[in-house]
Amino acid sequence: MIAPTSGLGILALGLVWVVGWGLFAWRAWQLYRYLRVGRNEDRTRYPLRRIRDELVVYLGQRKLLKRPYLLRGIAHAFIFWGFLVITVGTVDLFLSGLLGVRLPGTGTALFVWSVDLLAIAVVLSIALAVVRRLSFPPPRMHVALDGYLILGGIALLMITLLLFETAGLVAGVAAEGFAVPPLAALVTAIWPAPFPGESASAVFAWSWWAHLVGVPAFAAYLPQSKHLHIVTTLPNVYFRSQRPRGALDLIEGIEDRETFGAGSVRDLSWKQLLDGYTCTECGRCSDQCPALATGKPLDPQKIVLDVRDQLLREGSRLVGDAADRGTPPARWVPTKTEELWACTTCAACVEACPVTIEHIDKIVDMRRWLAMNEGDVPPEAQRSLTNIERAGNPWGQPPDTRADWARELGVPTFAERPDAEYLYFVGCAASFDRRNQKVARALVQVLRAADVSFAILGIEETCNGDPARRIGNEYLWQTQAQANIETFGRYGVKKIVASCPHCFNTIAHEYPQLGGKYEVVHALQLVQRLVADGRLVLAAAAGARGRGEGPPSTSASTQGTSSGFQEKETVAYHDPCYLGRHNQIYDAPRDVLDAVPGVERVEIEPHHRERGFCCGAGGGRMWMEEKVGQRVNHRRVEQVLATLDDGGPRGRGEGIPSTSGSIPKKVASGCPFCLIMLDEGVGAKGVQDTVQPVDVLELVAARLPADSRGGPE
């Protein structure tokens, strides 16, 4: 179309754009200056991975095109792609109106058709978005006027675009050499005179102007609203953390510092503050949060928005006075500490966020400040920290009993067998918790059956430090990590296998921060490899029974803590957060289960893999009381029951007498804390006869050929 501008019109157009974009730039500059009060953090390494992320997450909208939000994800993707293409068209229109020049390629049929089809898709998507907000709003979404203003604004831009194209075609102002816009062509073909009388030129001019004034108006509004994400997502994705997700940030030079963690928004990094600008208040994180789902005061979206609100409110003060530290984020609202301590660091929020916001880092930074600066930790958690300090394990068990579980099996220590290939890092749970000691013994049997050379550290092992780090006591984590690294070094350890995902995660991804670099695998990864290589051959569990449980009596084997294994059994797999979401180890445990003869594996719909539901023990929650709302592990057991329960014999909890000798189905995990939590949940619900929690390793050990089981128990 030939732009309806001349003389004063050109001047007005230029002025409107300068004012609109000027307001945008002024606010953007202000926001940028606030951002810079945050601490420095280098997020430029691995540029290729960052570019790949832009292509996949930003352009490809990968994190939106996912269940359970697929439909709205598609709608968003069309609005986004429409925005990208139509923006080029808008710039072209602006240039044609101001200078009478066109961008190359905007006259091609390809471009014209793209603009029209996308504009229609955008209008339809917006209609969908409005209907959804009005009639079935998503539970956690922050539905506010802002959202409608934005949707209305975009719709206005699209409608004026389609309108002036049609009116322009009728009025005969089509530019020479430009392809005919398809919608306009279609409308005029059906209905040659859609505008009454001679009004086509006026409609064209009005709608053209509405479109071209609308754009800078939108730009001026943008940085005042959550819609700023269309600008900030680009850098937010580019600068997303390229650390392994399970790794927290190292506090360097901890002995020489005076404050630790986030005592001020200044102590959050600029990227963490950018997260706040980028949040679109969509609520996907909150939808997935196990703490929120069970009635805790934590809402991950609020964690991000509180940081943003605090920055917007304190920003100008902090920019003006370098000595001003403002409010500690952990004290921003009186209930903040309860929110922070409710987090299990399960990463469901991080996984769900379409714009790569990092919730856990903020929560841990605030916890660090509470734990290290204020010494304000929930008393039960504090006790576990003191226990780690003094006894090297959070239970406070005598450290010289750490290897008692292994004594009868005659497991060698590295001191006894310095040439062992693998160090089995047992971890505190499998060392001291009676239920999990069975899992450690199972792994020993499996490794022996596959002829793997391994040894343990015995009483020289100490807590890996994970609970301390996640509770916020970075100093204690560093102390523990250094102690272990020293011990590993003394024995020249190169390969480590851990049966606990927390040990695995922190040794694999966090010990390198202190110089401890090893080849670390989780036990189920190793078992998967051993099965694939044919080094581990499993037999049917004919007449199989729990190991070391005495005779296979009919009813005794159905207790929660004993392991009766059947020839055929149904097993639901529960993804531990620190294997799954934090380390993307979804397939190895499933492959192992599929390799176990007689096991029929089922998924806990829809909460498996990326959408797995936490057991409630992560992030140091294992060591804190859970008094508010429903216990997370009880919710998880309900989900497991919904998957496994086919109307068979129910437990006491349902008021129906249990049938003795019935065979419970199993829920298998690969984490000692999940096992403890599931056991507790099953016990509390009285459903021991319906579902029995086990570790995958126990299912494997029960299928070892009789001659390879070896070793007395």
């Binding site: 404050t259 600066n373 504090q382 003094r390 006894a391 406070g396 005598p398 450290p399 100093y475 009813s555």
Partner: protein, 258 residues
């Protein structure tokens, strides 16, 4: 207000204690040491007073071998203002009465308004030194306290009793022995730990106090660990009635307690 807390370093509760070769003492070769838990509550109580009234100063003293310095560091990290280590010949063998006499000398120097001790140490559970200290000083003593606060003309002291508490008023200096209270001893903040690491801890030679370290003619004759526990037995029959019947049979015929 000036407060003095007497603390003792004992084997940490997570340590599995072994009897030494002489059969009458604890093998200390592989022990993690810590402040005795009741003394930790005493420190906490003193620091709570300081939280409410920043003009309050809290000193902590211990009589013991050189390693007891670590216990004082912990108290400093929690927030105490100063620490005094009384050590030297006889510091780890002195009798309870001897310790009380030595502490009394420190009290005379420090001149606190109140002395707080744990109600008993977790190693020997004698509960003696605090009371003896009051006796040596000629000060009043209140036991099992969970709280204290300044009051008109003295200090109100909450003493735990069966099912409730009594409030006593001390009109002058007193020795208070502290019971476990609801508030757990605080976890030292990291800046507190770092500051405590750098703080000077003055040392006093026990011999220079010129006190008699001997006590009443008592000595430990023999130490024995508790007998090892046998394995338990889980009774589970086909139904609850049968389980109960089997349990009764076992209690009557095997355990012979019915």
């Amino acid at each position: 207000m000036k407060l003095l807390v007497c603390a003792k370093q004992v084997p940490d509760s997570t340590v599995r204690v072994k009897v030494a070769a002489d059969g009458r003492s604890v093998d200390v070769s592989a022990i993690t040491w810590a402040i005795s838990p009741y003394d930790e509550y005493a420190v906490e109580l003193a620091l709570e007073r300081k939280d409410q009234d920043p003009a309050t100063t809290v000193a902590v003293v211990t009589v013991g071998p050189a390693r007891a310095r670590d216990a004082l560091r912990q108290a400093l990290a929690m927030g105490c203002d100063e620490a005094i280590l009384v050590t030297g010949q006889g510091a780890d063998t002195a009798s309870g009465l001897g310790l009380a006499r030595a502490l009394a000398k420190v009290v005379e120097d420090v001149k606190p308004d109140l002395v707080l001790c744990g109600r008993q140490a977790s190693d020997d559970d004698q509960g003696f030194v605090g009371i003896a200290l009051a006796e040596v000083l000629g000060w009043p003593h209140v036991s099992s306290i969970t709280k204290f606060a300044p009051a008109d003309g003295g200090t109100d002291v909450w003493k735990e009793t069966e099912g409730g508490h009594e409030v006593w008023r001390a009109s002058g200096p007193a020795v208070l022995t502290v019971q476990k209270s609801e508030k757990e001893p605080r976890y030292p903040s990291l800046p507190g730990i770092m500051k405590a690491k750098k703080k000077e801890i003055p040392e006093r030679d026990l011999a220079s106090l010129g006190v008699d370290l001997a006590g009443p003619a008592l000595e430990v004759a023999k130490m024995e660990p508790p007998p090892a526990r046998g394995g338990g037995k889980i009774v589970k029959e086909a139904d609850p009635a049968a389980t109960a019947a089997e349990l009764v049979r076992l209690l009557r015929d095997e355990a012979k307690v019915l």
